[in-house]
């Protein structure tokens, strides 16, 4: 049974205020990084799944949509790599 590594990226929707991102952006500005804008803070989640690629993709899509993110306020995307593709890393 193949093993897959999933990387999930969850971010607040653009319409949602991100007070953490704004605070970091202000701090960067205080540190004289005058060219930085649009700081948004999100979440990064890793998972390992086993199964055939098609079923793992379907399962992961459901996990991301139903549990790992709240579609009311967050966007999520994921990447899936088979273990042998990343062997040695």
């Amino acid at each position: 049974m193949p093993t897959f590594y999933a990387q999930v990226f969850v971010t607040l929707k653009p319409s949602i205020l991100d007070p953490q991102g704004r605070t970091v952006e202000r701090a960067l500005s205080h540190l004289d990084y005058a060219n930085v804008s649009g700081v948004r803070i999100g979440k990064y989640i890793e998972l390992t799944l086993t199964g055939e690629r098609a079923e793992v993709e379907t399962e992961l899509a459901a996990i991301v949509e139903n549990v790992l993110s709240n579609p009311i306020m967050e966007n999520a995307r994921w990447e899936l790599k088979e273990a042998r593709e990343v062997a040695g890393t």
């Binding site: 007070p19 953490q20 549990v67 009311i72 306020m73």
Partner: protein, 222 residues
């Protein structure tokens, strides 16, 4: 009114919720642990208390909303049974999709713990009939993630249908339209960030939360 207070790992207002329920609604109100799959027979009110269920991991209320007892709570709500979610309980209700919208970080990133003033916007619900329309009440808040958000269509619908039950006079967290509490379409599920169970005795500074429990009690007598 037979009351069940659900306990999740990390609930910390469960004892207050039970105390308020026993004082006002049901001397035999009891705790129900989150791993249970059924509510006690005859349960009329499910009280989802405040706290930090599962340490607020992933998102506040997210894991609790998917715990075993919630299937029974959803069935109870669908049957028309009453559900009251306070603070983390409100977050659980939105995560369980029993109420629309979501609660995110307070706009100033601070945890706010203070008495606040609310206006009773709808005094015709099962939870608010004991109040006067427009009555101003004082109830404490204690939360870091109470910033109510929903898409513009949902907000417009909540407003048009009178489902915004409580509104902050001085918005502490950035909630859209100063929303402090809402009911579902059927009117049997209330979620609110302020803690009415902490305002049922003058010893603790306010009795203004009593109205919610008195309203519910009157529903049963009817």
């Amino acid at each position: 009114m037979k009351t069940a207070v659900i306990q999740f790992p990390g609930s910390n207002c469960d004892a207050d919720a039970l105390h308020a329920a026993r004082l006002t609604l049901d001397p035999d109100a009891q705790f129900v642990w989150h791993t249970e799959t059924a509510l006690p027979a005859g349960t009329e009110l499910v009280f989802l208390p405040g706290g930090f269920s599962y340490g607020d991991h992933l998102r506040s209320g997210a894991i609790a909303a998917r715990s075993p007892i919630m299937t029974a709570v959803k069935a109870h709500a669908e049957r028309g049974g009453y559900v009251l979610g306070v603070c983390n309980g409100f977050q659980v209700l939105t995560e369980a999709r029993l109420l629309p919208g979501a609660l995110s970080r307070n706009r100033d990133l601070h945890f706010h713990c203070a008495p606040v003033h609310l206006r009773v916007e709808n005094a015709q619900t099962a939870f608010t009939a004991a109040y006067q329309p427009g009555q101003i009440i004082e109830i404490p808040i204690a939360h870091g993630e109470g910033n109510y958000y929903a898409n513009p269509d949902t907000i417009a619908r909540l407003e048009a249908e009178g489902r915004v039950v409580f509104r902050y006079l001085d918005n502490p967290n950035g909630s859209l339209n100063d929303i402090a509490g809402i009911v579902n379409e059927q009117g049997n599920v209330l979620g609110m960030m302020p803690h009415p169970e902490r305002a049922v005795e003058m010893l603790l500074g306010s009795e203004d939360g009593l109205g919610i429990f008195e309203s519910l009690k009157a529903c049963v007598v009817k």
